[in-house]
């Protein structure tokens, strides 16, 4: 008897690095107990309910007491990954502009795919809590464009399509980090 794989993957994505094994173990133990008392279907339902209800709490804390040098190191890695991603993104855009402007969805897919890959690379490099680091890194990138625009900087006005593309980087980078985290933890 095994808990639902998708719910297990969700736990691997949302649980803080230091508590993943503990939370997954608690859920597994309860799963087996309920499965033996009330059957697999009830145990599956309970596992899903517990996982979904735990999302806000598990995202709200981290047992990490990383030292200041480690935090600075993570910030520098995140910055380096962000710069590399922007460089690749610009290079790809330059190459494809020579070919000709395609439909929006193609551009969105291409840019977001790059963000997914770099989200995974970031999670690989920082090792612990990659999803959270990817989220804050992507948010930092978005704010770098949003703040000047809100402040009315004339060079930062862009069409709606560009904003959709930019905000999409957050879920894209988080997805990449989540995929890495699932592969590593489960």
């Amino acid at each position: 008897m095994k808990p639902p794989a998708l719910a297990q993957a969700l736990v691997a994505v949302i649980a803080p690095a230091s508590d993943y094994e503990i939370v997954a173990g608690d859920l597994h133990e309860e799963y087996l107990r309920i499965a033996s008392l009330r059957g697999t279907k009830a145990a599956n339902r309970r596992y899903w309910a517990q996982t979904l209800r735990s999302i806000p709490s598990l995202l709200s804390y981290s047992r990490s007491n990383a030292s200041a040098p480690r935090r600075v190191g993570v910030a520098l890695i995140a910055l380096a990954v962000l710069l590399a991603m922007l460089a690749i993104d610009t290079a790809v855009q330059t190459v494809f502009e020579g070919v000709g402007q395609g439909p929006h969805w193609l551009w969105f897919g291409l840019h977001w795919m790059i963000a997914v890959v770099f989200g995974a690379i970031l999670a690989l490099l920082v090792r612990t809590d990659g999803l959270r680091v990817a989220f804050w890194t992507a948010l930092f990138l978005v704010l770098c464009f949003v703040i000047p625009a809100v402040a009315g900087h004339p060079g930062s006005q862009a069409p709606l399509v560009a904003w959709i593309l930019l905000w999409g980087v957050i879920p894209a980078m988080c997805s990449g980090a989540a995929i890495y985290q699932i592969a590593r933890r489960t």
């Binding site: 508590d19 939370v23 173990g25 608690d26 133990e29 309860e30 735990s54 999302i55 598990l58």
Partner: protein, 110 residues
């Protein structure tokens, strides 16, 4: 007791449950005991987030146990109430008793 050190309702419940369970206190048993005694069914994530907060306040301490087969080969984190946790529980009970004294719930109307 400083303002930030008062126990929230759920913190109070979790701390008392850890004390009730003694050596058998870890995430799954704490969650099950709360459900059994109070009728509330907390999410395991909420229990762990609360335990982490209590540990940061130094009211409980924890240590990692051995992985076991019934947990899919995963370890448990055991919890124990510390002296500051006992003091916090006594303080919470005294506060409630003082508030209750002189109040008759039988005559009270909603």
């Amino acid at each position: 007791m400083a303002k930030g050190e008062y126990l929230g309702e759920f913190e109070h419940i979790v701390l008392l449950t850890v004390l009730r369970l003694g050596e058998g206190a870890y995430g799954a048993t704490i969650r099950a005991e709360i459900e059994h005694v109070t009728g509330r069914s907390p999410a395991i994530g909420a229990v762990h987030a609360t335990l982490e907060r209590l540990e940061r306040k130094r009211l409980v301490s924890s240590w990692i146990g051995e992985p076991t087969a019934e947990r899919g080969g995963k370890a448990k984190r055991h919890f124990k109430v510390e002296a500051d946790g006992i003091s916090a529980l006594k303080h919470a009970r005294n506060t409630l008793e003082r508030l209750h004294s002189g109040v008759s719930l039988r005559d009270a109307t909603a």
